[in-house]
C-alpha cells in the first residue's frame, strides 16, 4: 500500500507544473477561449517535444511507453491549469484505443504522428441526445459491398474542427440487440460528406457538431473489428473516463488552492474571512471532498492499470468528480465574493467548465447507474 507517486511521476508532475504555469497562464486560457481555434499550436508542439503526446505510446512509435498512472499525473496537472486544446481528445480519447485495438498497419500508420504532435485526433461518440449509453448511438454505417457509408450526426466532439482524424462509433447491425452491433471507424476529417461546425459554448472549448452524409469508410478503417465497437466503447468509457476524472481532480485542487489563499488574504471585519467559522468549515468540506476525489481517481486508475476490475470504481470517480467540481466551484466563487464573479478572475475559467466536465463521457446519473449495477443492484 503506497499513496506516493514514484520518482518518475514526481518528476513528471514538477515538469508539468513548471511548463504549464509558464506557457499556459490563466490569462492565456482566457485568450484561447476567444480564439476561434481554441488552442495554441505552438504550445501543443512543445508538449510533443516534452514527450507528453507520446507518453503512453510504445517506444517503437516514438512514444515513451509510460503507464496509465503517469498519464493520470500529467492530466491532473493539466486540469490544474485547464490547458485548453486537443491533448485530451488526441491522447485520452483516441491514442489509447488505437494502441489497444489498432491493427499493426493502423498503429504504424498513425501512432508516430500522434507522438510527434503532427496529427490531432478526436472521438465522435455521443449524439444529439448527449447520452453515453451505447444503446443511444444511432449514427449508421451501412455496408454496400465495397464500403461502409456513414450517415448521422455526432455532437459535442471536442476539437473536431482542429482534428485530422476521428474515431467514429457507428451502428452497423440491426436494432434488436443494440449493444452488440457497433463498429468503430477511423475517419479522415478531410473526407467527403463530413461537415464540422463549432458549437458555441460558455467555455469556448471547441466542441463541435459533426455531420456525416454518405461518408465512405473501408474495412481498413475499422478499429477493433466489425461488430466490436462495443468493446472499443467500453474501453474508452473506462480509460478515458478516469483520465477525465484526473483532469477534473486537478481542477478541483486548483480552485481549492486559490480559494484558500484568498480566504487567508481577504480581510473583512478586521479578520481574514477564513477565520469565520462558516467559511472555514466550508473550506474544510471542500478539502475533504477534493482529497477524497483525488484518492478515488488514483485508486480506480491503479485498479485499471493493474488489470483488475475497475469499471465500478471509475464510475464512482466520475460521479463524484461531477459533484465535487460543481460544489467546489460554487463555494469557491461565493467565498471569493463579487471578485470571483468577474471575467478577469481565474476562478471563472473553472466555473465555465463545470458542465463540460460533468457531461463529457457520461453524466452523474449515467455513472450512478453503473455503480448501482456494480454493487449488485
Amino acid at each position: 500500500m503506497d499513496f506516493d507517486l514514484n520518482e518518475q511521476q514526481q518528476m513528471l508532475r514538477t515538469m508539468a507544473r513548471d511548463f504549464l504555469s509558464r506557457e499556459c497562464s490563466r490569462t492565456r486560457v482566457r485568450e484561447l477561449e476567444k480564439d476561434s481555434r481554441g488552442y495554441d499550436p505552438d504550445m501543443l508542439a512543445k508538449m510533443a517535444e516534452l514527450g507528453w503526446l507520446g507518453l503512453v505510446l510504445p517506444e517503437k512509435y516514438g512514444g515513451t511507453g509510460a503507464g496509465l498512472l503517469d498519464l493520470v499525473v500529467l492530466l491532473e496537472e493539466m486540469g490544474r491549469n485547464i490547458t485548453p486544446g486537443p491533448f485530451f481528445p488526441t491522447v485520452a480519447l483516441c491514442a489509447l484505443p488505437l494502441i489497444k485495438f489498432g491493427t499493426k498497419v493502423q498503429k504504424a500508420g498513425y501512432a508516430a504522428d500522434i507522438a510527434g504532435g503532427n496529427k490531432i485526433w478526436s472521438l465522435a461518440l455521443t449524439e444529439e441526445s448527449g447520452s453515453y449509453d451505447a444503446a443511444d448511438i444511432n449514427c449508421r454505417a451501412d455496408y454496400n459491398g465495397t464500403n461502409y457509408l456513414i450517415n448521422g450526426e455526432k455532437w459535442f466532439v471536442p476539437f473536431a474542427h482542429a482534428a485530422d482524424f476521428l474515431i467514429v462509433i457507428c451502428r452497423t447491425g440491426e436494432v434488436s440487440n443494440p449493444q452488440q452491433v457497433l463498429t468503430a471507424f477511423i475517419i479522415d476529417t478531410k473526407c467527403q460528406g463530413l461537415k464540422i461546425e463549432l458549437i458555441p459554448t460558455i467555455a469556448g472549448d471547441g466542441q463541435c457538431r459533426v455531420r456525416f452524409k454518405n461518408v465512405k469508410a473501408g474495412k481498413q478503417d475499422i478499429l477493433g473489428g466489425v461488430g466490436n465497437g462495443r468493446k472499443v466503447f467500453d474501453f474508452i468509457m473506462q480509460s478515458a473516463t478516469i483520465l477525465k476524472c484526473a483532469e477534473v481532480s486537478g481542477a478541483c485542487q486548483a480552485v481549492l488552492d486559490m480559494t484558500l489563499a484568498y480566504a487567508k488574504e481577504r480581510i473583512q471585519f478586521d479578520k481574514p474571512i477564513g477565520s469565520f467559522m462558516a467559511i472555514q468549515h466550508k473550506l474544510v468540506d471542500m478539502l475533504t471532498e477534493v482529497e477524497g476525489l483525488q484518492y478515488l481517481v488514483y485508486y480506480s486508475a491503479w485498479l485499471l492499470a493493474s488489470g483488475q476490475k475497475a469499471a465500478t470504481q471509475i464510475s464512482m470517480a466520475k460521479a463524484k468528480a461531477a459533484e465535487v467540481y460543481q460544489q467546489v466551484c460554487i463555494d469557491g466563487v461565493k467565498i471569493h465574493g463579487a471578485i470571483g464573479f468577474s471575467m478577469d478572475h481565474d476562478i471563472g475559467c473553472f466555473f465555465r467548465r463545470i458542465k463540460s466536465a460533468e457531461f463529457m463521457l457520461g453524466d452523474r446519473d449515467t455513472h450512478l447507474s453503473k455503480v448501482a449495477s456494480g454493487i449488485g443492484l
Binding site: 441526445s129 470571483g340 476562478i347
Partner: protein
Amino acid sequence: MDFEFSKKEEQLRREIREFARRELAGRDLITGLEEESLDEDWEFAMQMSKKLSQKGWLTMAWPKEYGGRDASFFEQHVYMDEASYRGIPGMTMGVSGIGWVGQSLMLFGSDEQRKKYLPPIAAGEPDGIWCTAYSEPNAGSDFANIQTRAVRDGDYYTLNGQKIWTSCAHRARWCWLAVRTDASVSKKQHGISLIILDMKSPGITIKPIYNYAGIHIFNELFFDNVRVPVANLVGTENRGWYQLMQSLAFERHSVAPQFYGTARRILEIIIKYAGRTNLHGKPLASDPLVKHKLAERAIELETLKLFGYEITWKLSKGLIPIYEAARNKAYCDFVMQRLATTGSEIIGAYSQVDMRSKWAKVEGSITRLYMMFPGISIAAGTDEIQKNIVGQFKMGLPRPY
C-alpha cells in the same frame, strides 16, 4: 388564514399577462440584470419601462404625489411576480430607482429632492435610471469599512475614492452613493453619509467589469475630485449608516416575489422540455430521477412563494420585516442554485451551450441562471451576512464574529 388574492389583484395579474403577450411575443426570457449588458436589450427595456409607467405599474405603490397610485403592497407583489414570470424587461428600471432610492427619498429626502428625482423614475424615463454604489474593494460584507471620502468645501463636497461592483453605472443618470464624510470617528458605522451623485459630473471614470459569462452588469467607479452640491446630501450628514440599512431592507423585500416569478417560469419551461424530449426511447418526464428532482424544486418554489406572500402581508400590516427579508434573500439563493443545477442536469450537455446560440435549449434560461446565480447571491449581501441578520434579529443570538 386566507391565501387568496383579491379580485382587483387577480385582474391586475391578467392585465400584465395580456401586456406581456402583446409586447414580448417571441422574445427570449432574460433574467433581471442581464438587460443592462447589451445596448439593444437596454433600449428595449427602456421602451418597456415607459410603457409600464403608462400602465401605472412601475411605481404603483408610491403615493400619487410622487407619480404612484397608492396601490397596495399586494398589487405591487402581483406586479413583481407576474412581470418577472413573463420576463418583461425594464420592469425594475435598473433596480435602484424603483427598488429603494424612491422609497428612501420619501423617508429621508428633502422636499426638493423628492420633487426633482421621483417623477422621472415614476415616468420610466432615462433620467429616472439610478445606480447604487456601496461596495468598495475593502468594503464588501464589511460594508461599514467605506473609504471613499467626501470632504466638505463650502457648498460642495469633493469626492475621491473608488467604488466597485456597481451594477447599471454605465446606464444610470444618477448614483445613490455611500461615502465617508467623517474619518475621525472611532466606530466605522458613524461618519457615513448618503449622497446623490450626478453621473455626468466631471471626474467620474466608469470601468466595465465583465462577469465570467461575458455579461456587462458591474462596473468600477473612480472619483477624482468630483464636486457634488451639498444639496445632494440625503438626510443627515454622518447618519447615513442607518438610512443605508433601511435601503437594504427595501432591496431585500422584493427579492422573493421577483425571483419566484422568474423561477416558476423556468421550472415550467424545464417541465415542458422534459415532456417533449426523449431519452432511451422514453420521455425524460417519465424518468423517476427527473420527476423527483423537479418535484423537490417545485416544493422549494412553493415555499419561496409563501415566504414572499408573508413579507408582503407583513408590510401591508405596517410591520417592518427585517429578518424575513434576510431569510428570503438567503432562501432565494438556495433555491436558485438548486434550480440551476437540476435544470442543467436535465438539459445535460446543452447547459454549456452559449445561451444566445441557436443550439441553446429552454431559451437559454438554464445556462443564464447557472452563470448568474453565484453573482446574484453575492449581490445585496452574502449568505453569511443574511444568516447573521436572522440570527440576531429573529433568534436573539449574539453576532457571530
